[in-house]
């Protein structure tokens, strides 16, 4: 530290014992109480050390475990996976699959350090990691080049469906939001903040209301179908029935709901860019495209990654949207957790699923937060 600025002096004072306690205790205590403690209880439920029944007899009637056991974890993690890739199919133990995915993730993050061909390793690993999950939601179901399912373990199949849904939504949302954020940041003058408010205006209404509004639009006699009837593309007795209660619906609604959320961090990243860099690039003879590719995009990358994670992490456990507009097809991993804790009153099974999801999300966040920093640092 070169000089002692007022802010660093303040920093030192805060780092002293009493200051640390005063700063950390309220927030930290809150987190400890309402995150870690419940998490511990959820773990107890997942291993049969706690049960819901008021008595052991009551627990037994509902098939609950009443003593320590890893059975429910075994049921989730034990069964083999079935992989269908481009028509070929095979089975694989789950741990092997997890190992491969973790390896790919490591290569994607650290590939750049692998010497001469290192810069090719990362992109290839990212493609191998992500591509099997990207889906085209059209008609009944998500269409993917690879299918990962677990015939003996529906929850695991649901998890793959959820990852697929959430990854596709995240990528689509980033692609949709980027031009909007770019336009707002670069092409509008002082009016841009007014426009920003308009972009995020839907947030001023309740999420539930916005989702339910889609029912009006997408139902069999809804706006879209009525339009198709009126222009003669569809017969009135034969509406497009997969617009509502399908994975397509869940995709559309999630995408709609999250685009403004994504636009915000990207806008901030673009807005904070030093415009002189672009001027310098132009002075040095770079075309607009080259300047965009070499300056704007790398500088915006942390914003893009942040935006991506902003959607990916919450949507992977999404259950409200599937419940309202997903029907039977739209059932996702989050729905199974919600059902177990709610309607099924099977907290033990729900606890296993919830903890597994938390583990995956933590692993992904941990891994990508490194990437966030690396991208920011390289420029």
């Amino acid at each position: 530290m070169a000089s002692s600025t007022p802010s660093s002096r303040l920093g030192r004072r805060v780092r002293s014992g009493a200051g640390t306690a005063a700063m950390l205790l309220p927030g930290g205590g809150w987190l400890l109480l309402f995150f870690l403690v419940p998490l511990y209880y959820v773990f107890l439920f997942s291993t049969g050390q706690r049960w819901q029944g008021v008595t052991k007899a009551a627990a037994f009637v509902n098939g609950e475990l009443t003593s320590f056991s890893w059975d429910l974890w075994g049921q989730l993690l034990g069964p083999d996976l079935k992989l269908d890739v481009l028509g070929a199919s095979g089975t694989m133990p789950l741990w092997v699959f997890g190992f491969v995915e973790a390896g790919l993730l490591a290569l994607a993050l650290l590939g750049g350090r692998l010497g001469r061909y290192g810069r090719f390793v990362s992109p290839i690993a990212v493609v191998l990691l992500v591509l099997p999950y990207i889906a085209i939601p059209w008609g009944h179901g998500l269409h993917r080049i690879a299918g990962f399912t677990s015939p003996d373990n529906p929850s695991m199949s649901l998890l793959f469906r959820s990852i697929s849904m959430s990854l596709t939504v995240s990528i689509a949302a980033v692609l949709l939001a980027f031009p909007v954020a770019y336009y707002l940041a670069f092409c509008l003058g002082p009016a841009k903040y007014r426009w920003l408010v308009i972009v995020i205006a839907p947030f001023l209404t309740s999420y539930l209301l916005r989702v339910l509004a889609f029912k009006v639009i997408l139902t069999d006699q809804g706006l879209v179908n009525t339009l198709l009837f009126d222009v003669g593309l569809r017969n009135r007795d034969n509406p497009v029935d997969w617009l509502l209660y399908s994975q397509f619906t869940v995709f559309v609604v999630l995408l709609y709901a999250w685009v403004p959320f994504v636009a915000l961090p990207i806008f901030v990243a673009l807005e904070n860019q030093d415009r002189r860099l672009l001027e310098a690039a132009t002075d040095l003879g770079a075309s607009r495209l080259l300047a965009f590719r070499r300056i704007t995009l790398p500088l915006a990358a942390p914003g893009i990654v942040a935006a991506f994670l902003f959607i990916f992490i919450p949507t992977i456990g999404e259950f409200v949207t599937p419940q309202l507009v997903g029907g039977t097809e739209g059932y996702l991993f989050g729905s199974a957790i919600a059902d177990d804790f709610g309607q099924n009153n099977d907290w033990q099974s729900g606890a296993v699923l919830a903890l597994f999801l938390i583990a995956i999300v933590l692993a992904l966040t941990g891994a990508t937060s490194k990437f966030l920093r690396a991208t920011g640092g390289e420029v």
């Binding site: 199974a336 309607q343 099924n344 009153n345």
Partner: protein, 375 residues
């Protein structure tokens, strides 16, 4: 023509007027609600807590005798047997009177959630049909008293769809019904339907292999199943709006649908599938931690009274456990015949009808259903 094949024809309003019931106003729905609101609006509140199916709470003027004398109880909604049993077992609800189906009474008793009913405290006990009462008796003691009985089957809109055959299989696997069926979100029922399609000997006593196979059958039927409903209201909304053309339905679902204003003139069939309908007897029980025991008995006494039974039959086409000659005489003969309300000796007998029984391996049915739902 079998009883189930009769599409509805006469207006229910007409029937009620003709039968001279003072309840006529209820038939039009709106008026009924107003009437009920008026009767209950100024009524005092009763401390009694009743854990009951939602459609028996709303406007249930059959209980007016109780409401007037002791006030309106607090109602907690009971949606499915599975979920409510688990909820009650976790201690999440406090209730004096509960309304599980009688096949689950051994489970409620085993879990310590209901107490023995002292039948000597019930003036109306002798009117209760003995043939329906047996499943409510555990170790020689009465834990549940039968109150209502009826069927569960598919009901479809004749204006949209004409099935090739009256069967579960025909509707669940007909390509024309793709995404057009909604079923009850209750594992045991769904797995039993799969078992019926597979031709199991008895859907109440399925082996693990039969249960797994039934789940596979229902997974194959999934393209036709648009949704699983938890509340009957949701099913009726989707059915009446034409979003789905067929739904899992109880007699009361049928009653509420055909009397709905938007469904006027729409032929609706309550199907008698060739594999057999499902059937149930539901019961009243008294909570193990009952706080208002005296009121609970008073409430049950009213439950078996003639007005309560008449309302059950006339508004919901549902069978009652204390159907006196007067109740049957006042009911619409058409619906009495269709729902076999006066044929208790045969109405709940296999092979055409599979009455719900206590399932020792209920959890296996539920686990299999999770597979169907997640497939």
């Amino acid at each position: 023509m079998s009883t189930g094949d009769i599409p509805h024809g006469i207006s229910r309003r007409g029937f009620l007027a003709a039968s001279g019931l003072t309840l006529a106003g209820l038939a039009t729905g709106g008026v009924g609600e107003a009437l009920a609101a008026a009767t209950r609006g100024n009524a005092k509140k009763s401390p009694l807590v009743v854990y009951d199916w939602s459609y028996y709470q709303k406007d249930y003027t059959g209980f007016n005798a109780y409401f007037k004398k002791y006030g309106v109880p607090k109602y907690i909604t009971f949606n499915t047997d599975q979920a409510e049993l688990a909820k009650a077992a976790s201690g999440a609800v406090q209730y004096d009177v509960v309304h599980p189906c009688i096949a689950y009474i051994p489970d409620w008793k085993e879990a310590g959630l209901v107490k023995e009913i002292d039948t000597t405290k019930l003036k109306t006990f002798k009117t209760i049909d003995k043939s329906l009462s047996k499943p409510g008796i555990v170790d020689g003691k009465v834990y549940g008293l039968p109150w209502d009985w009826g069927y569960s089957t598919l009901m479809y809109r004749g204006d949209k769809y004409k099935p090739k055959a009256q069967s579960w299989e025909s509707l669940l696997f007909d390509k024309r019904l793709r995404n057009k069926i909604t079923l009850y979100d209750e594992g045991v029922a769904i797995i039993k339907i799969g078992g019926l399609i597979n031709g199991v000997e008895n859907p109440n006593h399925m082996t693990q292999a039969e249960i797994d196979k039934a789940a596979q059958t229902m997974i194959k039927a999934r393209p036709n199943i648009a949704s699983f409903w938890q509340s009957e209201t949701q099913a009726m909304q989707d059915f009446n709006s034409g979003k789905v053309w067929a739904t899992y339905a109880w007699p009361d679902t049928y009653a509420q649908v055909i009397t709905n204003k938007t469904m006027k003139g729409v032929p609706v069939t309550y199907m008698q599938p060739k594999e057999g309908m499902l059937a149930w007897i539901c019961s009243f029980a008294i909570g193990a931690n009952v706080k208002n025991e005296d009121l609970a008995y008073k409430y049950l006494d009213v439950a078996y009274s003639t007005p309560a039974m008449e309302f059950l039959v006339n508004a919901f086409y549902t069978g009652g456990a204390a159907m006196t000659k007067k109740v049957l005489a006042d009911a619409d003969p058409k619906f009495v015949k269709q729902f076999r309300l006066n044929q208790l000796d045969t109405a709940l007998k296999a092979p055409r009808v599979w009455l719900e029984e206590h399932l020792p391996n209920r959890v296996a049915y539920l686990k299999a259903y999770q597979k169907v739902k997640s497939a």
